[in-house]
């Protein structure tokens, strides 16, 4: 296998594995936020804001993996 092919595998693995954790995290965040809105619909606005903030932090981990993938691919 040549270096180009190994690079492609490295790219796919880094973003693929890196997206697992944030995916689970965002899923938990979303489900808990829905539960919270279901119990207390008046607080929907607050819950949504905090949910989006939390999701952004979870997503940042996936973005790190993406940066690594981009660096492997393009540098």
């Amino acid at each position: 296998m040549d270096a180009e092919g190994l690079k492609a595998i490295g790219t796919a693995l880094s973003i693929g594995l890196g997206a697992i954790g944030p995916g689970i995290g965002i899923g938990i965040l979303g489900s808990k936020a829905m539960e919270a809105i279901g119990r207390n619909p008046e607080a929907a606005g607050d819950v949504r804001t905090n949910m989006v903030l939390g999701m952004v932090f979870a997503e940042a981990i996936a973005i790190y993996a993406l940066v690594v993938a981009l660096i492997i691919k393009f540098v």
Partner: protein, 343 residues
């Protein structure tokens, strides 16, 4: 619902769209595969300085923000106490900016409390600058208007310019033989000789500043540096004690060692903050640009529109997150170490 959509105007738009597909297919137009460069490309030199396209765009964003600030505050009377009510009523751009700034101020006041006058200018500047540089990259022409140059690396995909029409070709066949014959340094000279066969790449004149790691790193260093400044301002010398905590030794050797270890972790976390700050913004915005480019390559028309909306949203959210995190770190630095208050 359907009847409402079936107007003459919409029909014309639909026909135009279908016509575009047909015409582009007949002409054999292809969207060139996106050339993705992780680093910002230099576009011109200013004395010994190399000006990259993202730096150039950052200057444009700054000028736009300064102009906005000037035109938004131009009509505010100098002497507020003696101004009549008529003079104080805002209109136009001043009205919009007053609304935005007021919303932002109240939001920040909810977190920062009595520190708001100190924190607001810094944090609001970060917000507006980051927001403007995120959204600037979404303007049409940014990243697509540029200078034609020969590919810098052997085997890079180039285009052959035929009038106004760019057709994507792989120029690696001719180029690779070039690279083998000549040392890498002479790559450019070799490209010049084979002008016809080497093809071109577009070096964009504009590039969103947030897609350059230097920009986000500079903002992150500034934010973390200011965190230390505000911490020192609030707690004087005792702020720096958290980085070199020996107070645990009063309660025995084990507590002392643990305290020292924790303070080393505190020091490391300050550097980790810089890293996470800069990578979060850079990764989000750069990945967004790549996503838009790849979508436009896969399906040339319309398919990238929903992603465009997503990128507008992400640009805003990332600006808010950068601002919020900086603000929360400032506030945490001014609060001091919890331990002293408990005992």
């Amino acid at each position: 619902m359907l009847k409402k959509l079936l107007t003459v105007r919409n029909l014309v738009i639909l026909l135009l769209a279908v016509g575009l597909f047909v015409v582009s297919d007949l002409l054999g137009l292809k969207v060139p595969s996106p050339v993705i460069s992780l680093a910002a490309e230099p576009i011109f030199h200013l004395g010994p300085l190399t000006i990259s396209n993202s730096l150039f765009t950052a200057w444009i964003v700054m000028i736009l923000l300064i102009l906005l600030a000037y035109f938004a505050t131009r009509r505010i009377p100098k002497n507020l106490a003696q101004a009549s009510n008529r003079e104080l009523v805002p209109s136009g751009v001043q009205n919009v900016m007053e609304m935005v700034v007021e919303t932002l101020y109240n939001f920040i006041k909810g977190i920062a409390g009595h520190w708001t006058p100190k924190f607001f200018p810094v944090v609001a500047t970060i917000f507006f600058f980051v927001l403007a540089s995120n959204w600037f990259g979404l303007l049409p022409g940014v990243g697509s208007i540029g200078i034609l140059e020969h590919p810098h690396k052997a085997g890079e995909v180039g285009f052959i310019a035929r009038g106004a029409i760019l057709t994507g070709i792989r120029a690696d066949a001719e180029h690779k033989t070039d690279g083998e014959k000549q040392p890498v340094k002479d790559e450019k000279a070799a490209g010049d000789q084979k002008k016809e066969s080497a093809g071109y790449i577009v070096v964009p004149l504009f590039r969103a500043p947030s897609t350059d790691l230097n920009f986000t790193l500079a903002l992150a260093v500034m934010a973390v540096g200011l965190t230390q400044y505000f911490g020192a301002l609030a707690l004087r010398g005792s702020y720096f004690k958290k980085f070199f905590d020996l107070s645990g030794f009063k309660r025995g050797a084990f507590d002392g060692v643990v305290g020292l270890f924790v303070s080393v972790l505190e020091l490391v976390s300050e550097f980790a903050k810089i890293l996470s700050f800069s990578f979060r913004l850079f990764g989000n915005i750069f990945a967004g640009e790549v996503l838009l480019g790849v979508m436009a390559f896969l399906i040339p028309y319309f398919a990238s529109l929903p992603f465009y909306g997503l990128e507008v949203f992400i640009g805003f959210i990332q600006a808010v997150v950068f601002m919020m995190l900086a603000l929360v770190f400032f506030v945490m630095a001014t609060l001091g170490h919890g331990d002293e208050e408990h005992h």
